[in-house]
Symmetry: C2
Subunit: 114 residues, 2 copies
DNA sequence: AAGATAGTTAAGCATCCACTTGACTGTAGT
DNA sequence: ACTACAGTCAAGTGGATGCTTAACTATCTT
């Protein structure tokens, strides 16, 4: 529990790369092989492999090899954790704004009543 | 519209750093000065400044200077965009799983009917 | 068995990142 | 005026990142 942030470090970092996000977007539509993932990317196969390793290292993606083809798929749990962290900050902020709004409205009421 | 991904690149990269996430978590609870943000971080003030510049460059944070103190606050729009991208991938994946479940259930039905 | 396909490993390289220290600027309190 | 405070600018450094090419392995196809 102490270092649970390190997972988020890696996940956010993994998603900071447009090629890796493209891979995730593709995998969200269903499993795919390495070369299928590589096709839309303008880089060498080893480079794609390295991106996949980054995505696997932070559990955003999983893969198994059957014969000579490795099939990759989304691992939704980490996606959920990333989403939750972001949502938490946003809602914390928005709830605070609401309270502030209430306070100001109250204040205005008092002003009127005087 | 063409390069809207570059914003996400920067936002995800910004959030990949634990110190920067700590800053965002703090700001979600309300505006704060630079030194207030620096207090829990074990690094020099210029380092904190650089983190803030990263957060401002991708519009996750905004700030104004009044007198000698710069007050920083969350800029929720980019947080929303990050959240939406992640949510989109997750839901795309989950809807696909649902369809797959339906298909399998249907298949089982046919099997029974035969 | 020979060749094509799919992926993997290793090494090297340019660039970027997070941080530091030191010098400096503008504002506030006394 | 003068000292402290809050923040800023600039330059440098060590280590990580994203890519490349070349060589290699394992599996399918004919």
């Amino acid at each position: 529990m102490i270092n649970q942030g390190a997972d988020l470090d890696r996940a956010f970092h993994a998603l900071a790369d447009p090629s890796r996000r493209l891979i995730v977007e593709r995998l969200a539509r269903g499993p795919a092989s390495v070369s299928e993932l590589a096709r839309p990317l303008t880089m060498s196969l080893p480079a794609v492999m390295q991106h996949l390793q980054v995505l696997e290292a932070c559990s955003l993606v999983a893969s198994e090899k059957a014969g000579r083809v490795r099939t990759c798929r989304i691992e939704p749990e980490m996606l959920r954790r990333v989403e939750q962290w972001v949502a938490r900050q946003r809602t914390t902020w928005e709830r605070r704004l609401d309270r502030l709004g209430d306070y100001l409205a109250e204040d205005q009421q008092e002003g009127i009543q005087r």
